[in-house]
């Protein structure tokens, strides 16, 4: 597990590092940056799995930073004193929001989410951040018809027929997307439940869903039952 901590308060950074080491034990590569610019520079050239981010670092525009971070392949866990920003952080696509002051249990809870298939939370993801060159484009989740896995990336297919490439994998997105709005129907597909016209059982025991725009997507055999339950 490759983890980056961006935290300017040395004492808190040390605390995070200590607890992270306890949780992940041996298989851990840990880096600490005490300024945001150092952290940004780091992720430009080094791949990581998880970012622990102190949001609203020194008054620089925290949400611009957040937008940038969530557009990346890794998961972002916010560790912040600005507890009133939690809902916004979730809506932007943070994996978790750990309010300060925190203890080991709360941080471990956040780490546990890394292995969970999907989130059980009241806070909903509302936007998906797409990185286009130096720009970040925010796509509202209701606007997404379905998502197709494309190797380590994902293709978001939106209402107007266009598609956008997201840096996160389909698995990572599945963890973030609200389970009562989106569901994984196939190794390569997540669909917006509202867009499903009907379920189709094809001859030979194959399953598919017909989406409203008239598109047919395959449904994995193992996922059919769950999908049927969700649609009822």
């Amino acid at each position: 597990m490759r983890i980056l901590i961006i935290e300017d308060e040395a004492r808190i950074a040390k605390r995070l590092a200590r607890m992270t080491k306890v949780y992940f034990e041996q298989q851990l590569t840990l880096t600490i940056c005490d300024t945001l610019s150092k952290g940004m520079a780091f992720i430009e050239h080094t791949a990581i799995d998880v970012l622990l981010l102190d949001l609203n670092l020194n008054g620089e525009n925290g949400f611009e930073v957040l937008e940038t971070m969530v557009s990346r392949p890794f998961h972002t866990i916010i560790v912040s004193a600005y507890t009133d920003k939690a809902i916004t952080a979730f809506s932007y696509g943070a994996l978790d929001f750990v309010p300060k002051p925190f203890d080991e249990a709360r941080l471990f809870q956040a780490f546990a989410r890394l292995n969970a298939k999907s989130l059980k939370t009241d806070h909903l993801l509302k936007y998906l951040a797409i990185r286009k060159g130096n720009m970040i484009k925010m796509i509202e989740t209701w606007n997404v018809n379905y998502i197709k896995g494309a190797g380590i990336y994902s293709e978001l297919h939106v209402h107007d027929g266009n598609s956008e490439l997201h840096d996160k994998s389909l698995d990572a997105l599945e963890q973030l997307l609200p389970p009562d709005e989106f569901t994984r129907i196939h190794r390569s597909y997540i669909v917006n439940l509202k867009q499903i016209e009907r379920l189709i059982v094809e001859p030979g025991g194959k399953y598919a869903v017909l989406l409203k725009p008239g598109l047919l997507l395959p449904v994995g055999r193992s996922r059919y039952k769950e999908l049927r339950n969700k649609m009822i």
Binding site: A10, A81, P101
Partner: protein, 530 residues
């Protein structure tokens, strides 16, 4: 107020009803040296009253008055064989005996001398009316005039006292007091004739006084508006006004009533111009005052009454009174706003250390210290509680000793040292222990310094507070020696707004605040002018 208007209306109607109709010939005046005689023929056609008939005579001199050859009275004492004349008044009233007061033609003869002002020929005028009415009419007029004059005298005194006892000393307040007093004086001068026998020799003295009073009021009222509505090029405008008024004075010299009317018209136009400007600029109260000016013109035009002009004046003064109270209201609002600001600043100071993010970050470090090295944790808690104590002590003050401010800063550094595990160095130079400073402003700069600085390679950040003073100012220079973080929005940060608001609260506009990076850190300068 309503009653007053009804009363006014009734009086106006009453005076409109003519109780006598007559014709008068023009006076035939014969002069020889200082002596003169004059005769006027009066033809009374109708008389609706049964009370005695009277006659009002206007003219200069000292004379005896005869009605159909019968002496009915005397005004002054005409000079007689070396005895000097005792001058009479310009206006005099006489009762006509009932037996001579019938309808038809009558002859009024006046015989006397005009030893003084021999070259002035005012002519002679005699008009019959109810004797009772002749005596009562001035009383009725005076009842109004005295009411107005009294009100303005009180207003003059009140505003003069207000000006004398006010800290702000607003020019408009004094100006209004002066205008009110002049207006009182004008009314008094105008109606003095009913109280005091003014010998005809001083008839023009009174008119001259009235002229100059009107002249002054005609300058001051537009000046008031110019100041109140903050007219650009005020003095140029007023200079032009004075020039026009002087022009009227020179051109119409000797025409007392006309001059006064022209003065009034001039200041009316000048005022309306200023009000028009105020209206365009959408200034408070300008519409109302403009309406009043329109109204005053109407009253002056259509109320053919001796004191129509004065009612118009009163209306204008009431407008100014309204503006004056509007100004007072604005002051009140400003005062409230400043009080509100003070309490807001106080709150902001208290909030400084209970800001959720400050507390949460501090508590996170604190927990860690307590878990990892409890003894240090206790020291941290003590430092924190001491800073709270200090903040508590200063929170309700607007100025505190500089030493207290420095203690607060040092205490804050102690806490931040625990949190950031950096070495913070505090240095000071030239601190004058007796100096006072608004609370937590250096503290705010320090906080900014901590947040926006990256320590030098050896893990230290140094802060330096420097005090210096000259004859004209005192200056605090606060320097942070560290690498500056990139700041997206340096100006207008909450911290700087707090500092500026505090400075304004204590020093008005007599301070300068500047903040900028320099090679090796950040420098902030607070200069307080003495």
């Amino acid at each position: 107020m309503q009653k007053w208007w009804i009363f006014l209306l009734a009086i106006t109607l009453m005076s409109c009803r003519r109780e006598i109709s007559y014709e008068v010939t023009e006076a035939v005046v014969n002069r020889s040296d200082k002596a003169f005689s004059a005769s006027v023929e009066i033809d009374i056609a109708e008389k609706k009253f049964s009370t005695p008939l009277g006659v009002r005579v206007h003219g200069f001199g000292a004379f005896t008055v005869y009605w159909d050859g019968y002496k009915i009275g005397q005004n002054g004492i005409p000079s007689l064989q070396g005895i000097a004349e005792v001058p009479g008044t310009e206006m005099s009233f006489y009762q006509v005996p009932d037996k001579l007061a019938g309808l038809g033609k009558h002859l009024v003869e006046v015989k006397g001398t005009q030893s003084y002002l021999p070259k002035v020929d005012r002519g002679l005028e005699a008009k019959p009316d109810s004797y009772l009415k002749l005596l009562r009419q001035p009383l009725i007029e005076l009842s109004f005039v005295n009411l107005m004059a009294g009100a303005f005298l009180i207003a003059a005194i009140y505003y003069a006292f207000l000006y004398a006892n006010s800290k702000l000393r607003q020019r408009t307040t004094l100006l209004f007091a002066v205008i009110c007093f002049l207006f009182f004086a004008l009314l008094a001068a105008e109606y003095l004739k009913f109280y005091i026998d003014i010998p005809y020799t001083h008839f023009y003295t009174r008119l001259t006084i009235i002229g100059w009073l009107t002249f002054t009021i005609a300058i001051l009222i537009p000046l008031y508006f110019a100041i109140h509505f903050n007219l650009p090029y005020k003095m140029l405008f007023i200079g032009l006004l004075v020039f026009v008024l002087l022009g009227i004075y020179v051109l119409e010299y000797g025409h007392y009533d006309l001059t006064s009317q022209l003065y009034s018209l001039t200041f009316w136009i000048a005022s309306v111009l200023i009000l028009g400007y105020a209206l365009i600029k959408k200034q408070r109260g300008s519409i109302l005052v403009l309406i009043c000016f329109g109204l005053s013109m109407l009253i002056n035009q259509y109320v053919f009454y001796d004191f129509g002009l004065y009612i118009a004046f009163t209306l204008i003064l009431l407008c100014i009174l309204y503006l004056q109270t509007l100004g007072a209201k604005q002051l009140e609002e400003a005062h409230q706003a400043s009080q509100l600001l003070s309490s807001r600043l106080q709150l902001e100071l208290v909030k400084k250390n209970i800001q959720p993010h400050f507390l949460r970050n501090t508590l996170t470090s604190l927990i860690d210290w307590v878990e990892e090295s409890p003894a240090q944790g206790v020291k941290f808690i003590q430092a924190l509680s001491y800073e709270f104590d200090l903040l508590n002590e200063i929170s309700d003050q607007s100025l505190i000793p500089i030493r207290q401010e420095i203690s607060l800063c040092q205490q804050h550094l102690l806490i931040m040292q625990f949190r950031k595990e950096l070495t913070y160095v505090w240095e000071e130079q030239g601190i004058e222990e007796t100096e006072l400073i608004p609370p937590a402003i250096i503290h705010t700069l320090l906080e900014n310094g901590i947040t926006h600085s990256i320590p030098k390679a050896d893990g230290t950040i140094k802060f330096l507070l420097l005090f210096s003073q000259t004859e004209t100012y005192k200056q605090y220079t606060f320097e942070v020696f560290a690498e500056n973080r990139i700041r997206s929005e340096r100006k207008g940060g909450n911290g700087f707004r707090y500092v500026e608001a505090r400075l304004k609260e204590s020093y008005g506009d007599n301070w300068q605040f500047s903040t900028a990076p320099f090679e090796g850190g950040w420098r902030t300068i607070i200069r307080i002018n003495s």
